[in-house]
Symmetry: C2
Subunit: 426 residues, 2 copies
Amino acid sequence: MSQDQTTQVKPSQFALAWELFRWTPVAIAVGLMAGAASALLLWSLNVATAIREAHRWMIWLLAPVGLCVGLLYKHFGKDVEAGNNLIIDEVHDPKRTIKLRMTPFILIGTFLTHLFGGSAGREGTAIQTGASLADQLARPLGLNAAGRRVLLMAGISAGFASVFGTPLAGAIFGLEVLAVGAVSYDAIAPCFLAAFVGDLTTHHLLQLVHMGHTIYKVDEVPALAASNLLMAMAAGAVFGLMAMFFARTTHAISAFAKKHITRPELRPFLGGAIVSCAVFALGTTRYIGLGVPVIQESFLHQVHPWDFMAKSLFTSLTLGTGFKGGEVTPLFYIGATLGNALSHVLPLPVSLLAGMGFVAVFAGAANTPIASALMAVELFGADAGAFAAIACVGAYLFSGRAGIYHAQRAGVGKQLPEALAAKAEE
Amino acid sequence: MSQDQTTQVKPSQFALAWELFRWTPVAIAVGLMAGAASALLLWSLNVATAIREAHRWMIWLLAPVGLCVGLLYKHFGKDVEAGNNLIIDEVHDPKRTIKLRMTPFILIGTFLTHLFGGSAGREGTAIQTGASLADQLARPLGLNAAGRRVLLMAGISAGFASVFGTPLAGAIFGLEVLAVGAVSYDAIAPCFLAAFVGDLTTHHLLQLVHMGHTIYKVDEVPALAASNLLMAMAAGAVFGLMAMFFARTTHAISAFAKKHITRPELRPFLGGAIVSCAVFALGTTRYIGLGVPVIQESFLHQVHPWDFMAKSLFTSLTLGTGFKGGEVTPLFYIGATLGNALSHVLPLPVSLLAGMGFVAVFAGAANTPIASALMAVELFGADAGAFAAIACVGAYLFSGRAGIYHAQRAGVGKQLPEALAAKAEE
């Protein structure tokens, strides 16, 4: 799959059709597995959240549960602990099949995080289950490294698409997340197919247990005038800075814990203890778990203007000390509540600002502006999606180099050409 | 703007904000100019179409008009004749400012094509006016090559966005059209801003003359089941083959004319003569001009199943012999009518198939699947957009290497990994 091959091989349309025909069942299988895992994840998190909210004393157990998860990964999960970064590394430089173990470990780890009141998300989990399940097909199908790369990308796409119910965003996410500032299309067809099949699978399975994806509604979208355009870009810059703050805080907590706490299982123990105490000190479960109710609130009316900061700190503490789970739903929360807070200073509707922040902080933290813009269009429609897309571009630019996935390659990086600056110096 | 610089420079957020602040008025200026030019173009084509349909005898004059346009470009327009390809080349390898002359020449050339009954589009024109106007800012602003590159990309984005009323698709088109199978993001903010400002400008100016963009409506979208997904992919492959057919026919006619007709002004003379005769032999103006009424029809009910082929041949003849104008509206026509024809064999709603073809043949011919998918979402909504996106990916894969813009670079090319095939050979 080198560039040289590409220029040499002139694929005949028949050969291409044959290849596509052969990849189709593989992509469908990837989608089915990832979609089933996502449905299981979403259902289990629903159960975890309900149990926790009914028995809040359980949150006191977060520290010992963190210890257990730490011990579990220390003794049996060392080779799957790197999670999303391991998967991104394998896509860039495929070496060996990801252990199937990654799937139950991350599912159980995420379940426990949510059951006992950590603040975390689910996309990391969905990506890991999607990709590790997909990778199991590599051996039976006799795939080489190039084939494994496509399997993993399709798994990422299917996992993301199915867990959020946004197939277009998921398909592009699998192509876009690998590098900062660049997309390449060689796995585009398997990623699209797997993403759509994954989404359908989750959708059907959730229906069986009378569940569905949460609907967020942007109920008012002003006409897109020039002033709004600049406001959306400025809001995007704020969202990007917030994404940078979140990523840096999480990395800093993680680095600090690794430096000062030698035994890895004690890191989530301590993190869990701090989170538990904070929950009971503040007397609210508003900042733990997925936080879906607060996200919904932030689309309806003004919420506390400090919600975004509290959620950011709770999540950085939870994930930075080694609990399992994703970052993206907390990023949605942080973005939606930060957008909501911006309604105090920007003359745009609350629900629109919440929707813009929802996708834009994620766009900045994951360095995926196109997938995020597509997600906005899929969730909120094309009108609100236009505002959100501008905010995503602003957030992407201002979030700095280090996003939440440090295995991302550099691509073209992010900056504006310094041509104008060059003139000033002349 | 080399890769090396990127990895060395770690942009501080303040420097970035300053750069963005400086680029913002430039991007807005690009959008204003491109949007104004697009409004002028759309208005003039409206006039041209109305006059021609009221005085059909004018179509007999297509041959001498072709001669005049040929002479005009031969004597005064040699350095702007390469049109879109010249612009793409300058983006990749900026050498010297595109002559301002490109703008009036392409506007007049396109107007004459439509007034006298050639079959052509308008996006080529909008891209050329957008980019050539944008490029005029390079000297007064003292931009270097990297800055000019961004100006041109923003001009392409703004031209495309404004002429079709699809800002998201336009923004991504400017990033995506440059290479096959790759996108890089370094100009993403100016492209987005210019695209939105361009769209707004055209929108406001058109309102002054009581015009607006045509609305196409997909009125029925079935639930996305697995079978529909595979049908959409298969339809996409057909759309891609059609795109390849169109691009190859146009190139072949052009190559044939260049080989056998030494004097360039005689090529459109001959092409015009053939088109005129064909119009009067068939007794219909259905296949000339932009063809917007037929596109609209194809969303409502079944049209002639040969419409797509006739439009393809009329357009290849018109553009291949050297008339001025774009390819994309004819591609929309070809796609919508081909999708319409597929409703005889595929159990999907006529309007959905028309919408899928509308964007997918274009996606295949221009090698821009993401911009095309975004266009579908902007024009038809997210549900129909999902079907259309799958079709765009299929079309992109199957349209072969040579699209309508031969200056496009190779990027990663298009193929599926040959990993599965490798196994079969073992």
